[in-house]
Subunit: 286 residues, 2 copies
């Protein structure tokens, strides 16, 4: 199945209004952070961040399907020696608007930005806020199961050796059932902490996250053919990952510079999807 994402060059709030209500399965986005990236997006002052985001939040609520999910990657910056409160104020406001704040995932950035300050250490984590319209949202947990920890490997290795000898010695003693039980145990469900290194190779966009991040949430919250929206597309990481995974995708970007990069990335992925897919590093959870 070959689906080319829809890329829209324009103002996020205006363009969202052209999208039908209840049509999107997953919104995954990383909006411009307050007052940072001045050179690119212009920057919104922290004190005005909530007022700026709420109208957009309202449109996102409208376009999301009842069982869809909105995932917001955000982190407050330190301003004047303090953490600003615009993120937690935003959570409160979005709840007033009708969003359910269902979960907060942590993205642990294993190779965070270097630096030293007298009053704080390097910031190695970001928030991944999950919002929903309904308590019963779609979630495909089996799609993101992972191998169990090292503790199990050692023990299962020993176990499987004894299993083999017994299996050779005796025939059809019903031991196979036990083995299959243990095999199930080789996979476990993940937690709400994601360990991912930032991709430093990404040249142009100043706020790129690793492909594995949208990839994980797209697997968790959508099926093939579902629709993924990124209203702050940037250089198109989320959109092209969705494309490669066989999801429909919509991306909105106001700056032609980034829009063009995203366009090229999408064309490239359309030409050789397998190669593009292999490029997605799945290095979650250590």
């Amino acid at each position: 199945m070959k689906i080319t994402p829809v890329l829209i060059l324009g103002n996020c709030l205006e363009e969202l209004k052209t999208i039908p209500a209840n049509s999107v399965d997953l919104i995954f986005t990383s909006p411009p952070y307050a007052d940072s990236r001045k050179n690119t997006y212009g920057g919104i002052h922290p004190d005005k961040y909530v007022d700026w985001f709420m109208p957009i939040s309202r449109e996102l609520f409208r376009v999301l399907k009842p069982k869809g999910t909105f995932l917001l990657n955000i982190k407050e910056k330190a301003l004047n020696c303090e953490r600003h409160t615009y993120v937690i104020e935003l959570i409160m406001e979005m709840k007033r608007l009708g969003w359910l704040w269902t979960e907060e995932f942590i993205w642990h950035k294993k190779n965070c930005y270097p630096g030293k300050w007298p009053n704080r250490f390097r910031d190695a984590w970001e928030r991944l806020l999950q919002f929903n319209k309904d308590k019963k949202f779609n979630m495909y947990q089996n799609e993101v199961m992972q191998p169990t920890g090292d503790w199990a490997k050692n023990r299962l290795r020993n176990l499987s050796e004894t299993d083999k000898t017994r299996d050779n010695a005796k025939n059809g003693s019903g031991f196979g059932k036990n083995v299959s039980n243990w095999l199930k145990r080789e996979m476990a469900y993940p937690t709400n902490v994601l360990h991912l290194a930032t991709e430093c190779g990404n040249k142009n966009h100043s706020a790129a996250f690793p492909k594995a991040l949208p990839e994980w949430f797209i697997r968790l919250f959508t099926k093939e053919g579902d629709c993924v929206l990124d209203p702050f597309m940037g250089s198109g990481t989320t959109v092209s990952v969705a494309q490669i995974m066989g999801r429909r995708a919509i991306g909105i970007e106001i700056l032609p510079e980034y829009f063009n990069i995203a366009q090229r990335q999408v064309n490239l992925a359309a030409k050789n999807p397998k190669k593009a897919y292999e490029k997605i590093q799945i290095s979650l959870f250590r």
Copy 2:
């Protein structure tokens, strides 16, 4: 230097009033989480949590030195398929009271509670909220430097063969005080993400955190002889760690049962501080 902690049996809010203003260097505490530990503390309803905590917060502000730090370990629970907002409301209220919200550390709980639900994964992290009265607070960053990546791993592996304590061999990353003296080269500053397992063998208290947690913050925010306060002492982890590290300590606990456990632990540590110190596992940052 031998300093015995001051343990107070009584109501937190009342007893705090007996402590002089501007006398404490570090407050490190983990108050009863909303509605949990019902069997022990009675539990506060999430909707009333902020109102319950704010008068205590006011007293904590009073007793803290201008350059001191308040570190609050807390996590909101999921209620009715949503994350409750009492923690972020608490942050807003404390700012109104005059606290600076300077940082939010993440405690990544490597061995979080198991379970499976249709709409969420296991919760593997807690907040460590840092509050201060003044932008220029005391912070001794050099005290918590850690060995860098690969070098540390190799070094520590060899080490565990030489210095054969059982616990070092087990997790492969533990190192004692004597060892850290060795490793003056190739040390780096940590980040604001801490990787620690909960100590589950502790039958004493239903909510004991690992000793390495208060140990790290006591090193970071206090010197020898400084005063550490834990207004919700529980079985006395914070207080006895502070004692072993040569800090003065004050602990308040309302339940005689826990108070007695803390009392015993303190007496034990006073008798043999070296042995007690070695028991503190420093296995931070993986």
